[in-house]
């Protein structure tokens, strides 16, 4: 029927599952992704879900990528259309030559299909209804049955899927055997009634290596455990809740006193975001490592306390899992849109340290490092994740930890130091780096106590409204921020094969799409040096990179080019030389989008001299 040749591809295609939220499809879809990984083929899955519990459309996309491109690709090669509500949109989204997999129990009019795709019908409802009587079982096993059918169509090894089911239902024999049975129901039906395999195929490979498959939020939570966080206060908000939930799970496993069984941590679900950051600040003031996890709306609420943290110089770690804003925005869609809100959070002159991990491995490392930075700098540190990294599984290098590492507790004056007669001024810059010493409450009977407040004070923490005293303090805070430049993760630069006057700056979850876009651009003849920014304040190498290139593209996932604004603001650079490449519809940025936007601009630059000559 198809008037276009079916797509033929091994280990390089995109499958999208269209389901109804709450139908129990998530575990089957994730198992599909994991099964491909077990074939040694990299995958990059993404949840696309509504802000809703049940009933609304949800999608799960699996990019199968032998070349290891982990960014979203765009386009769908095979649609598993299980949601009548979104049928038309789902069918329309299939690439020409692609495949439509659907439940063919009820006949559909021909107008509901396309001529340029291959339609594969499996009577899923009929199969499940003939096997199961319980309505919930019918719903759940239908998902496993389509997984079985797909395994036949894509030529996947069923033993690897059985192995996964075995791991998932270890110790639950009844569930294990019934899931395996359902898998083979679908697989056998496909093998007997369809032409298997189709053009899309999974072939065993060795491209996964020792990489791990983990969500960014879970990795960040693990980083907090390794980084020594003992107090976590949080308030549920999508997409950050799983950070605190994972931290709780990790702590339950790894953080109990072996003798007493008591917890070496305290986790409080606050009444709101204000209380959560307040608890973090109180705990940090008293010498514990503390953090909260939230998203943009939570940052808005926490802003007053963030200003206090900056001015009173109290450590705090905030993990901001960004979602589309402003206001409630799109709670379950991704963006990198809180850059300005976090960099300058609160009234008055403030600047805050931001860390931009690109994947779960860096989320782990940066989360652990955030606690060292917070205590060293005595200020708020933002770990800037986003939904795309935070709530999706990513293939990344294994997490690593150096057992010789000790925590950097920063400048803390001890009872012994006070006894020695060291001059303690809470806001005294003894080392010229802008960072003063602090004392923990209860340190010494007569020395080292001070009054913490958000009002102006002198170097010895004495309340003062003297203009010169205030200015002195504010200048020291600038010095401290300059010190931070050399403590935060440095940008990573990679140069094009040939010298070029064009560069590109990007950060965070844009990374995998950027890597792929670079090779696509090279194929079009465009050479670009690239700089991945990993933290704010910007290291001096950012200014150098800007100076070395005529034009620098800044790729980001928000409307107003917020990182570009920050670069312009902090470096005093001519904005014309920074070209914004922005993507902000709530979906993850793709290599196709970046390559087209930059490529088109590059082409435009090439004709500019001609246009000038004409005018």
């Amino acid at each position: 029927m198809s008037d276009k040749k079916p797509i033929s591809s091994v280990n390089d295609f995109v499958v999208r599952f269209a389901n109804v939220n709450g139908s129990g499809s998530a575990s089957a879809n994730e198992m599909f992704a994991r099964a491909i990984l077990r074939h040694g083929v990299p995958v990059s899955p993404r949840n696309i879900f509504p802000s809703n519990i049940q009933g609304l459309p949800t999608w799960y996309e699996v990019r199968v990528t032998e070349d290891g491109h982990l960014g979203a690709r765009g386009g769908v090669d095979m649609m598993v259309a299980m949601n009548p509500q979104t049928w038309d949109k789902d069918v329309a989204g299939i690439e020409p030559g692609g495949y439509l997999f659907y439940d063919s129990t009820k006949p559909m009019p021909s107008t509901k299909f396309r001529d340029d795709i291959t339609v594969i019908g499996v009577p899923l409802t009929a199969i499940t209804n003939s096997t199961y009587t319980d309505p919930r079982q019918r719903q759940l096993f239908k998902n496993i049955i389509y997984l079985g059918a797909l395994s036949a169509l894509l030529e996947m090894d069923p033993k690897l899927i059985e192995q996964l089911i075995g791991e998932q239902y270890k110790g639950k024999e009844k569930l294990l055997s019934s899931n395996v049975h359902a898998l083979h129901l679908g697989r056998d039906w496909a093998l007997q009634n369809l032409k298997c395999p189709i053009g899309l195929r999974v072939k065993k490979s060795d491209k996964v290596g020792d990489r791990i498959f983990i969500e960014g939020n879970s990795a960040a939570a693990l980083g907090a455990v390794y980084g020594g966080a003992t107090v976590c206060a949080w308030y549920p908000i999508t997409p950050s809740s799983s950070v605190a939930e994972a931290f709780t799970a990790h702590c339950k496993k790894y953080r109990h006193d072996p003798e007493t069984g008591k917890a070496k941590y305290a986790i409080v679900q606050g009444e709101d975001e204000l209380a959560s950051i307040g608890i973090v600040i109180g705990a940090s003031w008293n010498g514990a490592r503390a953090f909260t996890a939230t998203s943009g709306p939570g940052i808005s609420l926490m802003t007053e306390f963030i200003g206090l943290s900056y001015f009173a110089e109290i450590p705090a770690v905030i993990m901001n899992i960004q979602r589309a804003g402003p206001s409630t925005g799109m709670p379950t869609r991704t963006q990198q849109c809180d850059i300005i809100a976090c960099a300058y959070a609160s009234h008055g002159d403030t600047k805050h340290v931001l860390l931009f991990p690109e994947d779960p491995a860096e989320a782990f490392e940066f989360a652990a490092a955030a606690f060292d930075l917070a205590e060293r700098l005595q200020t708020t540190i933002f770990l800037m994740l986003d939904l795309d990294i935070g709530m999706n599984h990513r293939l990344c290098r294994p997490l690593k930890w150096d057992d010789a590492k000790q925590y950097d507790r920063g400048k803390v004056m001890t009872e012994e130091m006070l006894e020695e007669g060291r001059d303690f001024g809470r806001y005294l810059d003894v080392d010229g780096d802008g960072i003063p010493y602090r004392t923990y409450p209860g340190t010494h009977p007569t020395k080292g106590s001070y009054f913490t407040r958000g009002t102006s004070r002198d170097r010895y923490a004495r309340y003062s409204e003297e203009g010169s005293v205030y200015a002195d303090n504010m200048q020291r805070l600038v010095r401290k921020f300059e010190t931070a430049q050399d403590l935060v993760p440095r940008p990573l630069q990679a140069n094009a094969e040939r010298p070029t006057k064009y560069g590109v700056i990007y950060f965070g979850s844009t990374s995998p799409a950027m890597d792929e876009a670079i090779s696509m651009l090279e194929a079009r003849g465009h050479q670009l040096d690239r700089l991945r920014i990993r933290a704010f304040p910007f290291h001096s190498s950012v200014a150098s990179f800007l100076a070395e290139h005529d034009f620098v593209y800044v790729v980001e996932q928000n409307r107003d080019a917020q990182l570009r604004q920050l670069i312009v603001n902090e470096n005093g650079i001519d904005p014309v030389r920074l070209v914004p490449i922005v993507h902000y519809d709530g979906s993850p940025i793709t290599a196709r989008f970046i390559a087209k936007a930059i490529g088109d601009h590059q082409d435009h630059l090439k004709v500019t001299p001609l246009r000038k000559a004409v005018s």
Binding site: V208, F213, A266, G282, A290, E304
Partner: protein, 351 residues
């Protein structure tokens, strides 16, 4: 927050407590509040209570929000760490500090503007969590720093200094604290040191959320006819259910008590509260009874003072969370970090 330095001279013969500290060791900076402010009397009572309990001043963390009352921690326990946080947020900061180091004593000082308006939620949640603290509200029913607006605890029908009648209902923080499960609830009057000092001492010894509402007349904006938080009004309408004494393993503190029955309440740490009951029918172990008693007297325009409720076997937040006895802020990498071997196993489980 004063520009005036306190004289260092003091009488060499000042009385010392068990630790060898004098009253001066429990003082702070000179108050900058208005002369005659009720808050200064509360400060004096805190100093007295800490002196009598022989508390090491530096083992106290004093935390407040913003406002006249929240300035007062600067005026007592000068060798303690203080924290003047942000408006209405004292409870969360105190909760975090308490989680970090369970070994210190936590004094939360707040005002009616601080706790009954912007901080109403934080007040409520710190109480219901059972944070081990002494939460004192210095309650004058008026915003002093912004010159005389009604606060949320101002009684309906009471008048401002400008003669405006308050038409909003008042929030009774004591009633709320009782409802939320505070395990030590008291009300007192800043002008009644005899009652207030042992109340503060007992609250400090209490393990769990202790709440004391202290009516503290604002001399500048709420001490006039028509105010229900003035010195005269409170004196005339004060209905004390009991007076008390705190015994901490040494001689009872000598205070002049009104006659009545005596009830001993032993707290978790062995300290005892000797309750001299003025109202013989009042049972401070009956939470529901206390709520009814309060409501009945409030309807008559009476201000009930004394220890209104106590649960001597209270648990605190650390017990709810089952945290280790060692303060969390002293734990280091060797005990907190699971190490690379565990991480290798985690990695293996993620393939």
């Amino acid at each position: 927050m004063t520009y005036i330095a306190k004289p260092k001279f003091h009488h060499p013969g000042l009385k010392k407590n068990d630790l060898g500290y004098t009253h001066r060791d429990y003082e702070g900076k000179i108050s900058t509040l208005c002369a005659g402010c009720g808050h200064d009397s509360i400060t004096a009572s805190i100093i007295e209570a800490c002196y009598e309990l022989s508390i090491e001043p530096h083992r106290v963390a004093k935390i407040s929000g913003i406002g006249c009352s929240s300035k007062t921690p600067d005026y007592f326990l000068g060798n303690s760490h203080g924290f003047n946080s942000v408006h209405g947020r004292m409870p969360s900061v105190l909760t975090g500090a308490n989680l970090a180091n369970r070994d210190l004593i936590y004094l939360g000082v707040s005002g009616d503007g601080d706790s009954a308006s912007i901080g109403f939620g934080q007040f409520a949640h710190s109480i219901r969590r059972g944070v081990n603290m002494t939460y004192i509200v210095e309650n004058n029913g008026v915003y002093g720093l912004t010159k005389g607006q009604f606060s949320a605890t101002a009684d309906r029908g009471s008048k401002s200094k400008k003669g405006v009648t308050n038409t909003d209902n008042a929030i009774d923080l004591v009633a709320i604290a009782l409802q939320l499960g505070a395990t030590f609830v008291a009300r007192s009057f800043s002008g009644d040191k005899t009652q207030l000092v042992p109340l503060i001492a007992a609250a400090i010894r209490h393990k769990g959320a202790s709440f004391i509402d202290v009516i503290s007349p604002c001399i500048a904006f709420n001490n006039h006819a028509g105010s229900t938080k003035s010195f005269d009004y409170v004196r005339e309408h004060n209905d004390a259910v009991n007076r008390l004494d705190v015994l901490v393993g040494r001689d009872p503190i000598a205070v002049d008590y009104a006659p009545g029955t005596v009830q001993m309440v032993e707290q978790h740490d062995g300290s005892k509260i000797a309750l001299r009951k003025i109202d013989a029918d009042y049972d401070p172990h009956d939470r529901l009874g206390a709520q009814t008693f309060l409501a009945r007297h409030a309807a008559k325009g009476q201000i009930v003072t004394g220890l209104l409720y106590v649960d001597p076997d209270a648990e605190d937040l650390h017990e709810h969370l089952d945290t280790v006895e060692t303060p969390l802020n002293t734990l280091e990498a060797d005990t907190l970090c699971p190490g690379s071997a565990v991480l290798d196993k985690i990695n293996a489980s993620l393939r």
